[in-house]
């Protein structure tokens, strides 16, 4: 394991007018670590994720990412071109609704190949080869490579979105309710797949979810948010099996244990 964190977050605050989105959030994410952010809707977890992934500019605080070339850098001190490049090469973003993260008008193969082409891949055969490989890894039949995403089921769309993100070998992946748009029956398969890929690729992941079962299965550590602030933070098993904060206790009590 590397000697320094991949991401250092210090005092991140974001307001919407008088309303607080998230407040004074600080934590560190180490390489290969999966951090779950849980809380009910309105708790500020999606606002936090958007700040971390540079989709929203925080009002205060610092987000320092350990870049491949220059070491730790505040992402909002980077120039916009560098930040955009970072976001589409070294990071991945898996949206809750796959249509937000996919190009619905072009084939599955082009969706997976886009990031490769964006960083200069110009050999059709090799791009297609990698796309085929990644479709296989996310369990999409290879003969669907030339089909448009609109012919895919919900579960397949989400897996396609994952392949589209992972093809560039990102080090950090943000996931916003990755199973949120899926039927319960396909959620388990996707979680299984995600867990395998994360371990295999040694990804660092920040996954936002309101579903504690998802958190338990994927996350090493958990942050519990309420009203924009972090109320509890610890190892997943610890937080879920021995919650300290009354809100966490309520949250855990509200679901049935397996």
């Amino acid at each position: 394991m590397s000697s320094r964190p991949l991401l250092q977050v210090r005092g991140v605050t974001r307001r919407y007018g008088p309303r607080v989105g998230c407040r004074e959030v600080s934590f560190e994410l180490w390489p290969g670590e999966v951090l779950g952010v849980v809380g009910e809707s309105g708790s500020g977890k999606t606002t936090l994720l958007k700040c971390l992934s540079a989709q929203l500019v925080p009002d205060a605080g610092a987000i320092v990412y350990d870049t491949r070339d220059d070491g730790p850098r505040d992402i909002f001190a980077l120039s916009e071109p560098r930040r955009r490049l970072l976001a589409r090469t070294d990071w991945g973003i898996v949206h809750q609704h796959p249509v937000e993260g996919l190009r619905m008008g072009v084939s599955a193969g082009a969706n997976v190949g886009e990031r490769l082409m964006a960083v200069g891949a110009r050999h059709y055969g090799r791009i297609r080869g990698q796309a085929l490989d990644w479709l296989g890894r996310v369990e999409i039949p290879r003969d669907r490579i030339d089909d448009l995403p609109r012919t895919f089921s919900g579960g397949m769309l989400q897996r396609l979105q994952i392949a589209r993100n992972l093809v560039s070998r990102p080090r950090l992946v943000f996931m916003d309710e990755p199973t949120g748009s899926l039927d319960v029956s396909v959620q388990a398969r996707l979680l299984d797949l995600l867990r395998g890929l994360v371990a295999e690729l040694g990804l660092s992941v920040i996954v936002v979810t309101h579903d504690l079962a998802v958190a338990r299965l994927l996350a090493h550590r958990l942050m519990v948010m309420r009203g924009g602030a972090v109320v509890e933070h610890g190892l997943t098993d610890q937080v879920l099996d021995d919650p300290q904060h009354p809100y966490t206790q309520l949250l855990v009590a509200s679901i049935l244990h397996p």
């Binding site: 071109p81 072009v106 084939s107 082009a110 190949g113 082409m117 964006a118 110009r122 059709y124 791009i127």
Partner: protein, 267 residues
Amino acid sequence: MDGYNFAYLDEQTKRMIRRALLKAVAIPGYQVPFASREMPLPYGWGTGGIQVTASIIGADDVLKVIDQGADDTTNAVSIRRFFARTAGVRTTERTAEATIVQTRHRIPEAPLRDDQIIVYQVPMPEPLRWLEARETETRKMHALAEYGVMHVKLYEDVARHGRIATAYDYPVMVSGRYLMRPSPIPKFDNPKMDRSPMLQLFGAGREKRIYAVPPYTTVRSLDFEDHPFDIQRWDQRCALCDAGDSFLDEVIVDDRGGRIFVCSDSD
């Protein structure tokens, strides 16, 4: 012509356009916004090219106007007549004699020299428009050279058709920096733009953009390493002049599907 300035536009407007042209030459392939004027010819019929020509033409210039490669198509005749009327300049149908060639949809077969300027009429200047409708976003994509999405389009072509299915207005990279539409010339003409001695000016009147390719600038047609750019070829030769290396127009000669092929370049 009475009541109008030399070459129709007033001198202040010409200066404004020349400033835009200088900027365009300084940043090859970059689309410079300019205050396109209302012209007495309709938008979409060459108002951009006409304004560029009007701004650079002098009394000693010799003008050639082609449309689809030919000097005698109606729109070429109309534009040539416009300049003969408003500027009184000499016009020609010989490529070698012209100092300025205004064109729609072709580059002449005879190579142009470094003392000649070609002015392209451009209907849609933005190469990313079909992928992104918003000007605010496409300008940002150019600024950051985010052109990967263009190859997504080419990828789709190869995946569907086994080849890149763009036959004209084929996108190019200029000087390794800006993605550019060469205007709707056939891709057959694309290689003529690369490191050419001629100065190439592009005017889009309705969209209010000017861009340029200075002499000897690299112009590379987008492709894949394993699906390289390729131009159209004909099995036939020109039925009139027997040329075997030119762009051919197909002319239907009877109602039984009989056809002949003739050079699109009438020179």
